[in-house]
């Protein structure tokens, strides 16, 4: 077990390293680099060269990568090109806002999808199942940004109930009630595709477990349907559910980019979009490292949990 954990940890670090190499290489393939955006302002060539030198962009790409990696290992994510602040400060300022939004959406999606998935699995191929499963297809097909615009049209434009953008009302001291009012629509938008994915997955997972021999045994010894569902089925169905929840994290981040743009939510997703536009490479790299690290860590934890609870995996 100890050796397995160590080897998996090494693999995770190598994976993260590869991610940064690919991203860094891609970014520096760009003709002109970040100064191409600044070049739009028609600066003299000498001044452009000076800017490139200041940013270290005149060095060969592998050298630049080495410098970047060395800084990163020492906890330095670099300086943002656009507003000359440390990248870590930029991200640190935006990350909590994204966590509030994505966390709310994620938890809401889980709380709603678990009972829905269990219900549809227990009543598979009935009318109610067809309706809910059919609706989950539509949930997967809704473009999040458009759903956001529609909610704005209904709740802000037509009903004047909710604010259409931002996190707090300007010129007012921030309050929890105000935050919740601003949070409601973007969280709903972000939760929808996850709600659909989770519901489908919970349903499939529960159905698969319900066909297992030990469930038949439990039924044969006379246990009630509810007891079987919660004590035998759900416990085993939860393991693959945890995996898919972890795997969905990058999708939540992608959704956050779009949702935050629609609702003017000052989060990390919006920061990523802005940074890609302005070619603010240190910010792009910083966000890449953080998100990739989170994805890799979650996968690692899920795999290790598997090993810890399922002896069959350990034997392999």
């Amino acid at each position: 077990m100890g050796r397995y954990v160590v080897s998996r940890l090494i693999q995770a670090v190598v994976l993260l390293f590869l991610v940064t190499v690919i991203m860094f290489a891609l970014i520096h393939l760009a003709p002109g680099g970040p100064t191409a955006v600044m070049a739009d302002q028609k600066l003299p060539a000498a001044q452009l060269a000076q800017m490139r030198a200041n940013l270290g962009l005149d060095k060969p790409v592998p050298v630049q990568y080495g410098i970047w990696l060395n800084d990163l290992v020492h906890g330095n994510f670099g300086i943002s090109y656009t507003d000359s602040r440390p990248v870590l400060d930029e991200i640190g300022q935006r990350l909590p806002n994204t966590l509030i939004l994505a966390g709310t959406a994620f938890i809401a999606a889980l709380i709603i999808s678990l009972p829905l998935g269990i219900y549809t699995a227990r009543h598979a191929h009935t009318f109610a199942d067809d309706v809910i499963s059919g609706a989950s297809f539509i949930g997967l097909a809704i473009p999040v940004f458009w759903f956001g615009i529609v909610l704005i049209i209904v709740f802000s434009v037509a009903l004047h109930l909710l604010p259409s953008s931002g996190m707090y009302t300007t010129n007012q001291p921030p309050s929890l009630a105000d935050l919740l009012k601003h949070l409601l629509m973007p969280a709903l938008v972000l939760a929808t595709p996850n709600l659909a994915t989770f519901t489908r997955f919970v349903r499939a997972s529960v159905i698969e477990v319900m066909n297992q021999d030990y469930v038949r045994t439990a039924r044969a010894k006379g246990l009630g349907a509810t007891a079987i569902t919660y004590r035998h089925v759900l416990r085993n169905a939860l393991i693959p559910i945890v995996t898919i929840v972890g795997l969905n994290l990058p999708i939540v981040i992608a959704g956050a980019s779009v949702t935050e743009s629609v609702f003017g939510w000052p989060g990390m997703g919006r920061l990523a979009v802005d940074a890609a536009f302005t070619r603010d490479y240190p910010v792009v790299m910083g966000i890449t490292v953080l998100v990739a690290a989170a994805v890799i860590a979650i996968n690692l934890v899920t795999d290790l949990t598997y090993v810890a609870i399922d002896p069959r995996v350990r034997l392999q």
Partner: protein, 296 residues
Amino acid sequence: MTATPTRVLSAEVTLAREQRGPLQQFLARLLRYRPGIVSLGVLVFLYMLAFVVPHLLPYSPDSLDLTNMLSGPNWQHLLGTDENGRDVLARLLYGGQISLTVGIFAVLIADTVGVLLGAVAGYFGKISDTLIMRITDTMLAIPGFLLLLVILSLFSPSLGKIELAIGLTSWMTVSRLVRGEILRYKDAEFVQAAKAMGASDWRIIFRHLLPQTVSPVVVASSVLIGAAIILESALSYLGLGIQPPQASWGNMLTGAQNFVWTEPALAIYPGVLILITVSAFNYFGEGLRSAFNVTE
């Protein structure tokens, strides 16, 4: 006494059923899933709308009518005009050409990459397997949408580049799927027979193994097409996809969002069309899944 003719009859029915070829059985199963067939009809209708009807319209999607901005529906412009006085119906139809092709070509690229990598990894194993699966894991760990944003911000986006970018960032499910299927069959008797007859590795892969992977890949592709359409529209909405003045359902929403307070209808149309298109691909994929008998 009466039992005998019934038995003969049922035997005949069984015989008739067995005589139907695999293709007919497949079609019969496909037809049984109603939403899938309805979706196919919807898709055919949408393709006609996007590729045939625009030639019959009096307006080009880019012609400006500056005296008639945000006109609202009328007999001249059935769905009204947008903020630049362009005919909304014409733009929706031309925009449809983007959404209805981007998904298919992006997924063809993803399938090509995924099938080749998955086949090599599964069949040859060893170093090639380790290497390819590491690349797959790496691509899965990179936040895909961020990668797309970066790629498209580097190169001035065009339809071809968007298809390429989406294709090259979404082949990982396919490669894993194909690798798994090939591992399942590579020691099967029909492969051993082919080997004994002196077939080369590539002949075994292309003639004997890849045909086994067709149904799961097709089913996965229909879901990927829907996802690719949504990705393109999101990128276009953010300004990193199809560039104005060319119309796409995604970038029409960018313009329309500024006018939700006065002309909310403009923001409704493109999204409804995306929703219908993607749902149709998903439902049709579900039909294919049951017709191919593929389980997840």
